[in-house]
Symmetry: D2
């Protein structure tokens, strides 16, 4: 199948490669052209604008935030300008619910279709085609792009015809990760100050009720305090948290645990951890208890 | 091996049966004698006091809280009075760190040994010998009782020689369960108000990063709002939360997520959910968002 | 002195009248013209656009939010189009820091001056010329408009040359009001459930350390549960809270107490209190403790 | 009038002197005798036990915590042993509600009367007879001791016949102080990071809605970061917070703002501020925002 791919960052790159590997023909675009050219070796054509990439009738976008998505969608060189009538734009970025709703309307008014299909997984999962995809949008549009989504994700969950719902689920999922991180941070700080080895504690957790990738992965990161290099940088995590809280405000849903995580992330920013992994906010729980890195008590 | 077992509630009963099934000989005691007698059919001898149950030289206790444990340990009819010099008392209740430290000292001063060995698992796991046990205490004492612990638990984790450490780990583990519940409650309330089916949302979670018993089990309870009958009643959950916060205070560890859970639990008590499962505090997040049971919006 | 006044809501009306009373000549504009005409009896000229009101060289604006302010400032009929070069725009609305900074730049680039001068006080204080004004902006601009500010406010505090600083102080002040309300709500709920008369408790507070208008005023509102009619509606309070949290995010300042108030306000919105006074979020603390209005315990 | 006074710490000393100054005859006792002897110059008789001090038929106690109060009340040398039948014990310490209820019962069973009469005010107010007293207990007992209470406090509030109610009010009042401190800490951190002078901000507050001793006093302490010497030490503040939260738990009242203060205080303890004034927990808000003392930004 022929398609366009807009946005070749750490995630997009791997996703585009998964599509190529599955035999699809891609026209790719990236803000810095080098990253697009790097894909020509794999058979991708390099488009000079998002509009050009969208011409195939199906186009994927995977960019860093709301603003970046608006930039590649709008204007004479944007996706909407190039996508033929009846075409499908699959938006895979983690964006806000409000933007998703707005874009859905704009696509519909222009006789194009928007599918929201954000993903769970880090760059290595993207490269291996092992993402989990949550997709929402018009049924026929989803049916049309399903084979492509399956090339990128080992699992594709569909959530009905309103694109924004997929974005809510993605934001809620990311929030649950931060909830698990904060829980782990508080719990291991307590046991560490009580003299228990934190690694041993993690073993107990992983061997009982908490045998899940989220605890396994972040438990290890927290234990080893391996926050650099950032798999997913703190400012991006803060952005997702803000989008979640905004959704909560629109829908009148108090989210005190998300508010707690927000304050942790801001404290982490204030302490200069902005270039670390988003899970570095776990350091605040540790430091507030007077523990230095490695779990030792600091001088008062 | 010969041993005593004190406390035959929903958990203790199953644990004692697991020991009998493994061929150990038990002398059992319970505050209400009927429960002890119910075990004679399985071959247990009924003791008339905790002291008598302790005479075998190894005695297990599994009672509801700090006060109940003090009651069965102390006095002329208590465990310490009956346990022979050099004997081992394995305390399996979820109790506070302070009491664990105090009891450890009292046992040591009396030339007896205390092993703290609280468990993870609900009554069905207790009945099936499938608990997870976290044990701490003198090495020789642990070695002596290990075969018995293994009869009750499919996994036994040892955590060093200070009994109280096992209690900290147990409290921290219970806290992490409540953290997961609060996260689930907030996240599913948000997606529900956004129009997403909560069951579908749970499917996505369980099929991605959150594929763990804690999300599977409590996710189902929350989805079906099946808080009665209580597997573990709310007041007991509140007690464990208090013991955790007390430990945090003793060690100067701020635990804001645990504080949040505390306030949720108190709100649940105030609304009359005190006879429901401890996870019923999840209802507060739902109700604060103006959703009635089943996820429908309430009139204002 | 001659000046324009844009925005004649509950606050702006009283402020304009204070200016007229002090002998200043006003050209007034309001989105719904009737409110402007109501002021002609007091000697005001009715302008047909914000631009026309701004022609006098000094213009005040007092509108409901960021969006409304942008609307009256921009475009061919906006304040910036009518204000002569060297003119001063005194923005008195409670707006966000980002907008204040943006508008300051736009005024400067256009050789106009922006003074930010938000106020503390309710409509009755506005009508009586008894507001407290916090002003920031270029020194000469402030000097020029000072007599007019003094006609509206019994106290005028200047905060330096960066307009946005006045907005931060206003938001921080409003936040402190909500902090006092939440404190009062929790404290009086506790004493009420302990059997203490809440009015008696308030007497003690007001007669000791808490003898301040904020406790006196809101203490009375909470005691009498007199949340309607709204002096300042809940959605506006929520807006100010959001602007505060946004400022906290920009400056990397965690604000957990403000986050708590946010969640209370959202719960109040979800329960249908959106048309009540902003202090109605105090009802959440009361209801979470299982107390009905008037401080009686509800059935579970 | 003749009376006994037990407990001559920073507060008790001043209170006893106020009684002597008003012409009452006192028999005084303190754990370290020197402090009692220091009062003989003022005309006090030195008692050798609390029981002896209680013999006059009216006795006041002012000690540091629940445990200290139990120690001076109980045993053969305690207040209850010395107080004649029909005598009145006026307990002025800040203690927990549970202890107050327990003591009230014990006094009643022994045909003695307990009046709970905790005070608001620092040592200088105690010395000057300018405390605020909140008193609850049997009407006749209060009537009997009223002249003495009035010698110590410029204001005496009565709260009915159940002694524990006065203790709840005292704890709730102390909580409101901490709520104001946390509010001030967050608000001034925000304005400081926005470039506003914190002293100027405090001026604005004190000149508007927040013109109250609590903001004036603690605003100054926070501004000058004058946390040593401690007027009231952090561990005592933490104790009062714990007593408040315990009362909340008994009555099923969630107190999220008090929980927030708790975590702040624990963080302050962990950072080694345990010998500073209780308001030193305000430093946590400042430090979490990356500000060093004096409001300057720290290196990351």
């Amino acid at each position: 199948m022929e398609a366009g791919f807009v946005g070749l960052g750490a995630m997009g790159q791997g996703m585009a490669r998964s599509l190529l590997r599955a035999g699809h023909r891609l026209s790719v675009w990236n803000r810095t052209r080098e990253r697009a050219e790097a894909l020509s070796a794999d058979g991708a054509a390099v488009a000079s604008t998002p509009a050009e990439a969208a011409r195939a009738g199906v186009v994927f976008s995977m960019v860093s935030d709301d603003r970046a998505l608006e930039a590649v969608v709008s204007g004479p060189e944007g996706i909407l300008a190039g996508l033929p009538k009846g075409g499908v734009h699959v938006s895979m970025s983690t964006i806000g619910v409000e933007l998703a709703e707005r874009l859905a309307r704009r696509h519909e008014e222009a006789d194009r279709q928007l599918v929201s299909a954000p993903v769970f997984g880090r760059p290595d999962a993207a490269a291996g085609g092992k993402l989990s995809v949550v997709a929402a949008g018009p049924n026929d549009a989803i049916a049309r792009v399903l084979p492509l989504l399956q090339a990128m994700g080992q699992k594709v969950f569909t959530l009905g015809e309103e694109p924004a719902r997929a974005n809510v689920v993605k934001l809620a999922g990311n929030f649950l990760i931060t909830a698990a991180i904060e829980g782990l941070a508080e719990a291991s700080t307590l046991v560490a100050k009580a003299g228990v080895d934190r690694g041993r504690f993690l073993d107990v957790l992983l061997d009982t009720l908490f045998d899940a990738p989220v605890y396994r992965g972040y438990g290890k990161i927290l234990l080893e305090e391996r926050f650099s290099p950032a798999g997913f940088a703190l400012p991006l995590g803060l952005k997702d948290n803000r989008l979640l809280l905004e959704t909560g405000e629109r829908l009148a849903v108090p989210l005190p645990l998300a508010s707690l995580v927000r304050d942790r992330m801001l404290a982490a920013m204030a302490r200069g951890y902005g270039d670390q992994d988003w899970s570095a906010f776990a350091r605040i729980a540790v430091e507030e208890a007077g523990l230095a890195r490695g779990g030792q008590a600091q001088a008062g």
